[in-house]
Symmetry: C2
Subunit: 301 residues, 2 copies
């Protein structure tokens, strides 16, 4: 572990992801639509989901510069980006600040934001199905199957619908966990699963342990998000702080209090680390996943 | 040809498509999202795109009850349905009537309509990637690649962006054709291409001729749409008549006049029929495609 440089690993992969995303969206196409899409997805965000894809792929032996995992990394970031564009719109959260910039509908108008979100989702599935021989069709099909199920009405979109319907309600912990399992957890778990799917014939034991890692980390991520919503300021977050509280949304902090929520995030991170142990994979293979897990819990934005 | 009963062929396939779509969307899921999705897609529309998928698959020898083409048929209808839900929203066309019913945002609110559209798009890619052995991975990957490219920013969504940017402008015929090639033509062509992709190893000659058929039919469809917008009433159309004219949108009727537009639709239909001839396939194989092509041009809604 000591020899592993997470920062360098991240930078190398982030540069590849950024270049691939930029290559995937022609700026001057379709009456400004390409420009709005680029604005929504380039130069912003922590890229946690793509990094999880790449670290998971590496854990199961994917080549560091392999195309399958790079495509999957871009695809999940595109899904994440589309969900933010639509989530920020006036009929949803009506937010004006995202990643430190005006939101897409503020910058380009609502109609263009709606279309840009739609087209970012579509582009995710384009990137998973390159029209050359670079990725085996079975891997392409597996990644599409995973990503579509994680982001659709029984995944992320379903979680958003539950979230919308829950404003002002008192959810219990089971209900809150179910909402987050869908709204943010499904994509984080999918990041891990797509990384694994980039390599054929990974054992069921490793697959299951990595899935447990993805589930625990996904929930930890959301609990930390709720904590940061009350403890950080908007400038650090790059988005409007305190908005969950202001909107009377159910959160872990509202449910269990600030200190208990922090302790819960730590416990979930420990579960995630244990799941990595249980894979039986080498420290070399697991180094990037371990580093990302620590980062998720210790982040301040 | 004389023995072919288009109406019976359509009804048999439409029943299968309707059942598969209904099976694909659980009504009671995710805080009403499933209900909104079902409202948007079930019991409505002409289902032209799914029928084109199924007729094209049949032309190249797919089993009439094959799963690959049924999945592709459902998937393209889901993409079409999502585009209508979003297109009807207040920030886009702001339409209140669709398929003779209140539009989704009128019935369920804008936030749910936005999410329902998003999730209908995702579901299209779920349906193309069944998680059993019913469809070869290579066919799954091909269909996803075709559908994503046809519906994204270089296809349907791009056409919608051009459409939005063109209101009040005078487009020339080349510009108008390019807009429609993307906005409606891309999905109609894709219907034909996905049907063909459901069968391995179709000759390039047949593929190209069927693609020409899809392109000509797609443009004919749009010209007829423009004609109907001025000649039909809202009750017959099931949507608001005259809205293109009212919105000062560029149309073939505005560009070339009503009679010339009708003649142009007929000429395009003749091109489409010629392309079918050029496949060299048997009359039995082509009967459904021929029937659908006639229907597209002679429809009154």
């Amino acid at each position: 572990m000591s020899a592993f440089d997470l920062k360098a690993w991240m930078q190398w992969h982030l540069d590849r992801v950024e270049a691939a995303l930029s290559d995937g969206i022609q700026a001057h196409s379709a009456a400004g639509l390409g420009e709005a899409m680029r604005y929504a997805v380039l130069d912003g965000g922590k890229r946690l989901r793509p990094l999880l894809v790449l670290a998971s792929a590496q854990a199961v032996g994917h080549e560091p510069n392999g195309v399958a995992a790079l495509n999957a990394a871009c695809a999940i970031e595109l899904i994440h980006a589309y969900s933010l564009v639509h989530d920020d719109m006036p009929c949803m959260d009506n937010d004006v600040l995202r990643r430190g910039k005006p939101t897409v509908h503020v910058q380009f108008g609502q109609a263009q934001a709606l279309l840009a979100g739609d087209a970012l989702q579509t582009l995710a599935f384009e990137m998973l199905t390159p029209q050359d021989d670079s990725v085996a069709p079975a891997i392409q099909a597996s990644c599409v199957a995973l990503l579509a199920r994680a982001s659709g009405y029984q995944g992320m979109a379903g979680g958003q619908a539950i979230d919308l319907a829950s404003v002002g309600l008192r959810l219990n912990e089971a209900q809150l966990r179910q909402m987050h399992r869908l709204k943010t957890g499904a994509l984080l778990l999918c990041s891990v699963q797509m990384g694994v799917a980039c390599v054929p014939q990974v054992s069921a034991g490793v697959q299951n342990a990595l899935a447990r890692f993805g589930e625990s980390l996904g929930l930890a991520f959301q609990v930390v998000d709720d904590v940061l919503d009350v403890t950080a300021d908007s400038a650090t977050l790059g988005k409007t702080a305190g908005k969950d509280e202001a909107a009377d949304k159910p959160t872990y902090v509202a449910l269990m209090g600030l200190e208990a929520a922090k302790a819960y995030a730590d416990a979930l991170a420990a579960d995630a680390m244990q799941a990595l142990e249980d894979t039986g994979l080498s420290d070399d293979r697991l180094a990037a996943l371990r580093g990302l897990a620590v980062m998720v819990v210790q982040r301040n934005n």
